[in-house]
Symmetry: C2
Subunit: 373 residues, 2 copies
Amino acid sequence: MNKFNNIKKIIVKKPLKLDCGQTINNFPLAYETYGKLNDKKNNAILIFHALTGDQFASGINPITEKDGWWSNALGPGKAIDTDKYFIIAANVIGGCMGSFGPSDINPDTKKPYGTNFPVLTINDMVNAQYNLLEHFKIEKLFSVIGGSMGGMQVLQFVSNFPNKAFTAIPIACTASHSAQNIALNELGRQSIMADRNWEDGFYEEKKKQPDKGLAVARMAAHITYLSKAGLQEKFGRKLQERDDLKFSFDADFQIESYLRYQGSVFVDRFDANSYLYITRAMDYFDLTKRFDGNLSKAFENSDTRFFIISFTSDWLYPTSENREIVIALNAIGKNVGFVEISSDKGHDSFLLDVPDFLNTVKNFLNTSYKKIK
Amino acid sequence: MNKFNNIKKIIVKKPLKLDCGQTINNFPLAYETYGKLNDKKNNAILIFHALTGDQFASGINPITEKDGWWSNALGPGKAIDTDKYFIIAANVIGGCMGSFGPSDINPDTKKPYGTNFPVLTINDMVNAQYNLLEHFKIEKLFSVIGGSMGGMQVLQFVSNFPNKAFTAIPIACTASHSAQNIALNELGRQSIMADRNWEDGFYEEKKKQPDKGLAVARMAAHITYLSKAGLQEKFGRKLQERDDLKFSFDADFQIESYLRYQGSVFVDRFDANSYLYITRAMDYFDLTKRFDGNLSKAFENSDTRFFIISFTSDWLYPTSENREIVIALNAIGKNVGFVEISSDKGHDSFLLDVPDFLNTVKNFLNTSYKKIK
């Protein structure tokens, strides 16, 4: 795909056995880096993106020409300080920003994979990204950090590679995707699949795009990223450029106009099949499953120092679910800090300018970094 | 429409001026009754249905052949005791169970109204139903009762007709639709409108049905009717008739299968345009608007005894929003009781077998009834 010609990527040659049973190799993994790797190679941070993120965490995303998704947190002097640390961010496999995904060409058919792409897991995504450590010849990361699905990858990374990260910051996430969250993801998938242009996933070869279904999926998700109180404060019942109700199905209320906008801009930057695959990976995520329901066992062999962060108004990955991870780590005497940040911005808090959150991350990283220098 | 030939209805001859400015008359209002009106005509209860309800509150709905939506609450010896009271339930205008709605034939065009049907409000719905009091020659109702959108109608009824109900029980509702609830309704509307079969609302004349869009709208709404904890307890991560994940987009989890089922059965009984019109009426509902933001003024002239009920796990119409109604009534010294019922069944609690709730309604009604006998 031409638009990805100028972005950084490695070709993973080593075979990767996926949880579904298939093995993939020689696949692209697109990444970006920020800051400089020091001589000791001990200042590297791997950050993991959430459902609709990508490798362009900071600065201007060259494909979308919009700000990177974590520009609030990542940059010179910021919480994740690019003057100090070397940050690596990859696009997850299954994604649509240059890594191996459903819109890639299937060499067997010479057509895009579509829904013939293998169903992936968070475990698969993390195992693919582990190749970046070898690529940069990094023995041990200073930190692994991520929010939402990025937090799930943090947990999976430490579980898979217990001595490969000095610290870990899982933010606003869970160790096991809840029924409500599966339901919400299924809603998004059904919305995409209901779009006649989806064509069972083979829309690209038919030169169609299930934009309407994808836009509705995004609207649904967007509502869940914000809190009831935050929505009320920001939008309430304010009308959209009108003095009174219009008694029609136009966007009378600002919140309607806002949602429609969120849906419409999303389809320009995201692939419908990637949305299906990545939400599926989230729903399949249950770190306790491999350990007979005992989450502590997932971290038994780890020497990583954890710092777990949740937000008061996050109802998608509420504090209670984040706290379960803290409890599991405490139960086996692991090094774990925890803070619940007060914010009315809902799940989205981890992406926004929430000073208490950003200061907390900054302090934890800088204090921890002194210990390894 | 033939299927509604054998259901009860009145034809409202008197002109009804709608909030949108249009006037309607000679329109059908479908209703059902339960129990017997006593000689004094002081045992009548008007119940109002929620978004997808209808006049068939109890027993078998003759159109859908399913149990009535309030069979748990309404019947001989039940909370709303049909041995004691005469219950009237109407289908709201805009609905699809025999009352004047968007699938009715427009006499001007000889085609279904579709989206040429006037946009309605809760106020319009209540004013239409007031005609039933005249039809049954009832001077004053014993009670007006409803949950969710039915509760909004209760509030509007008492505000419009301050001395026409001895008691009122608004359940799990609000006096002003919140930004989050507008957003969730807009999501449903966008899902319907995204379905190519919707045809700008004129699907019936084109012999099409926007079933996929309507099913997704229903799935979205259904998630909001249940609580996170309730979903987790009932479904968790249980698999649907399989031993392990199938690594596909089939319904692996029971919650997925359940949602798909809810969507698929809904389209057999509900009209997509009615869904648009009724959700629009809910979003337009703000009882404080006519009273300069002072909810107390809405009830200033009323002598109705209120009893307000909310549910702990209802995040759609949470206790805080129900309590605002209590506060507004208390502020002007009105007779008001209030209870928050403990339930993990979410907003749906008012429709389900929640004994504390049902007993509370029963006791309030029976105690109040002694005072008027």
